[in-house]
Each structure stands twice: as C-alpha cells, then as structure tokens.
C-alpha cells in the first residue's frame, strides 16, 4: 500500500507535469512518433493490401507478410535502425513504420478478398466500372476489417514506441527505462501506468472512429470484424 501511495504522490507532484521530462511533453512525443509511423505505414500498406485483395492475387504473399512481421522481434528492429542510422526520431519512425505495415497489408487484403462475389457480380451487372465498383461497393464493405487492421497496427506501434526509449527516443517509455536504471520503481510504475492508459485510449479512440466510418447498413459486419482481424502482437 505504501508503494501505491508513493505512485499516487508521484502523479500529484506538479514538477512531473512540466518541463522537457514532464508527462505532457513525453505524451506528446509518444503520440507524435506513433502517429507519424502509422500514417506513413498506412499510405504504403493500404494501397498494396487493397489492390491485392481487389484482384484476389498474391494472397499467400499478403498473408506471409504478417507471419514474417510477427517473427521479427520489434526490439531488434529498433536497435538495428539505431545501429544503422544513429540517434534521432528518424530511425525510430522508420522501424515503427516497418512494424505498422504487416497488419494493415494482411487485414486490408483479407477485407477486400472476402467481399461476396455475388455482390461484385451484381455491381458489374448494374454497369459499375472497375474503379467505381472498388470505391463505391467493395471499400465500404471492407471498411470494418481495414479499420481493425489500422487499430492493430496503431496499438503495436504505441507499444513499440515505448521500447524506443531504450535507444534514446523520447516518449512515455523514458519513465520505464530511466526508472529501471535509477532503481526508482515509483517512476517505473507510474510510467507503465501511463503507457498502458495510452494503449487502451488508442484502442477505444480507434474503435469509436471505426464505428463512425462504417456505413450504417453494415454495422453488423463491423461487430465481427474485430474477431476476424488477424491477431498481431510484437511488443
């Protein structure tokens, strides 16, 4: 109990909420690193997954990408990026982007390839051209699973950004890494709580966004999308 009281006092201490090592700054760094990686990753991964899924080609490739992505330790990837390119946010974002890509490729591939062929036939019969069919018929149906892929990526990136503190990155992971190095378990524990809260908040925010983006007519599909999403945890 004394320990938890100490953690409470850590949070109550005003000096932990200001300056370059304050919670708002660290939170900002964490969110910025993660956001950059997820956005860059999405720009690369979604067109690939959507195209492969639409044409139903190279399915094995799209699935293997996530199997290989799972097998490569995220921690090692960060250290390699650091060894190759040195200090700074650039190498960290590069490594995080590499981690963000596989879940988005796999899930958007599965999302598009699972669109009911009868629906595609009906669209063709109604005179839809290829691109219109993709944009107006297939993508809306695929949104739940595509969003589930983005959510999976985002949570993994937030988790791995924590480890980036080890290779001199900023973010909330600093409290864990520094707290451990200084035997300051109060700081370590407070940092861990902040990281866990950020990961859960990311999950909730993206679930909410998913609900906004899914057309009303296919909400039911959205409910099962989280369950069908390819499980992915590397950090």
């Amino acid at each position: 109990m004394d320990f938890l009281r100490g953690v409470w006092l850590w949070f109550a201490d005003g000096s932990h909420w200001q300056g370059s090592d304050g919670v708002p700054t660290r939170l900002g760094e964490h969110v910025q690193l993660s956001l950059e990686a997820v956005v860059i990753g999405a720009v690369i991964a979604l067109p690939i997954g959507i195209t492969l899924g639409h044409f139903g080609r190279f399915g094995n490739l799209a699935i293997s990408v996530s199997n290989i992505g799972r097998a490569i330790p995220s921690y090692g990837l960060l250290v390699i990026a650091f060894t190759a390119f040195g200090f700074g946010d650039g190498p960290i974002v590069l490594a995080l982007t590499a981690l963000a890509i596989p879940p988005m490729v796999t899930n958007s591939y599965v999302a598009l390839s699972e669109v009911d062929p009868d629906i595609k036939d009906a669209a063709r019969g109604m005179g839809y051209r290829e691109l219109a069919q993709l944009l107006r018929i297939e993508l809306p149906l695929a949104v739940p699973l595509i969003m589930a892929g983005i959510r999976t990526s985002a949570i993994q990136v937030v988790a791995t950004a924590t480890v980036a503190a080890l290779v001199a990155g900023g973010g909330l992971g600093r409290y864990i890494v520094d707290g451990f190095a200084q035997f300051d378990y109060t700081k370590l524990f407070a940092g861990a709580l902040l990281v866990a809260a950020l990961a859960l908040a990311t999950e909730l925010l993206l679930s909410w966004l998913q609900r906004l983006l899914v057309p009303r007519g296919i909400r039911l599909l959205a409910a099962s999308a989280s369950r069908r999403a390819t499980a992915f945890k590397t950090a």
Binding site: F3, A71, T83
Partner: protein, 222 residues
C-alpha cells in the same frame, strides 16, 4: 556509438566472438525456449476450461474476451514494469504477462473451434449415448483441435518475439544479446540474437504445423 549505415567494414558476424560465447548464447536460447514453453502451457491450461465455459454460456464471452483483450492491449514493457514491485526481477515478472497474452489468442480459438463443431455430429454423439463430459472430451475438443492449433501457432510466434523485450529490464532471453549489441555497439550479438529469434520462431511454427498434420490428419487445409 552507432557506426553509420553498416558501411564501415565491421563484419556482420565476428565468428571468433561467437565461438568463445557459445555457452552464453545457448543459455539465453534455453531461457527463451523455457519462457515460451511455460507461458504457452499456462495459456492452454487457463484458456481451455474458460473456452469451454464460454462456449456453453455465451453470456461469459463478452466479459472474458473483454478482460483478456484489455491485458492484451497493455504493451509488454509496461506490463513487465507493472509486475516488478510485486514479483521483483524474476521469471514470474515476464511469465505472468506473457501467459495472459497467450490466453486471449487461445481462448478466441477454443471458442471458434467449439462453435464450429457441426450440430449433426453432436446429435449423433448424443444418439450413441455419450454423456456430456465424454462428448466434450472425445468428440468436441478433438474436432476443435485444428482451430486451437492455429491459435497456438500465432501465440507461439508472437511470444518468441515479445520475450526479447524482457531483456530491457534484465529478465533474460535472447533479447539480452540484442541489448548487449546495443550497449556495446557491437554488431555480432545483435545479429546472432535476431537470427536465433527468427530461426526459433520459424522452427516452432513449422513443428506445430507438423504436429497438426499428425494429430488432426483429417484437416488438411490452413
């Protein structure tokens, strides 16, 4: 210090270092395998009964998947750190979070596997006089095995990758080699640690695919 773009001529692997550090490397590898095996065994022990319960009582699904889903969302480094005040720097600090992660993956697959057993098969089993427990053990769980093994493969490969992070707070495993490579700016341990990790994941994945072929020869796909 970082050596810049790998262009400085330092070899990827310094074999003389490897040859003098074989016992250390094997020690970390052994620890890595041990963590993986224990957390998977723990995951199976917890998830099978819970999965059976959730299959029987659909009302349990949301709370169970919600609770373990929450654990799963917590980043591993944070989860390990949250354990330290209670378990210190011990194996349990790594094993408890890893086991909880595995429970979610396995639990989902146990439920899916049991749900997918055809109703006709259950009728036939009832007609043949199976009691509920015998029906569960001898009919339902074997038929759910392919889905469970698929979950086990995902859980195994994920776990092997996540354990490397345990080394950030000195809990052991192949991540210690990655850490050493980072701290000493020496490429060899980093490359050896990464390579062994990926190799271990591939070997485990292929072996589990083989196990599946042996124990469920009727399910060829997937």
């Amino acid at each position: 210090m970082p050596s810049g773009l790998f262009l400085d001529g330092e070899p990827w692997v310094d074999w003389s270092w490897v040859s003098t550090h074989i016992p250390t490397i094997l020690g970390y590898l052994g620890q890595h395998v041990e963590f993986t095996a224990i957390s998977l065994a723990g995951g199976i022990i917890v998830s099978v009964p819970l999965g059976v319960a959730a299959h029987r009582r659909p009302g349990l699904r949301l709370p169970l998947l919600g609770a373990f889903g929450t654990f799963y969302t917590i980043p591993s480094l944070a989860f390990f750190a949250l354990m330290i005040p209670y378990t210190g720097i011990s194996d349990l600090t790594a094993l408890i979070p890893l086991t909880l992660y595995n429970v979610l993956i396995l639990l989902r697959n146990v439920i899916v596997g049991l749900d997918e057993v055809p109703a006709d098969v259950l009728d036939a089993a009832d007609g043949m006089g199976y009691r509920p427990f015998a029906r569960l053990v001898r009919i339902e769980l074997p038929l759910a095995l392919p889905a469970m093994l698929a979950g086990l493969r995902v859980a195994t490969v994920s776990t092997i990758g996540i354990i490397t992070i345990a080394a950030v707070i000195a809990l052991g495993g192949l991540g210690e080699l990655i850490y050493e490579g980072f701290i000493e700016s020496f490429r060899t341990p980093l490359v050896v640690g990464m390579a062994l990790c990926v190799a271990l994941a591939l070997v485990a994945d292929v072996s589990l695919a083989g196990v599946k072929r042996l124990v469920v020869p009727w399910a060829r796909s997937g």
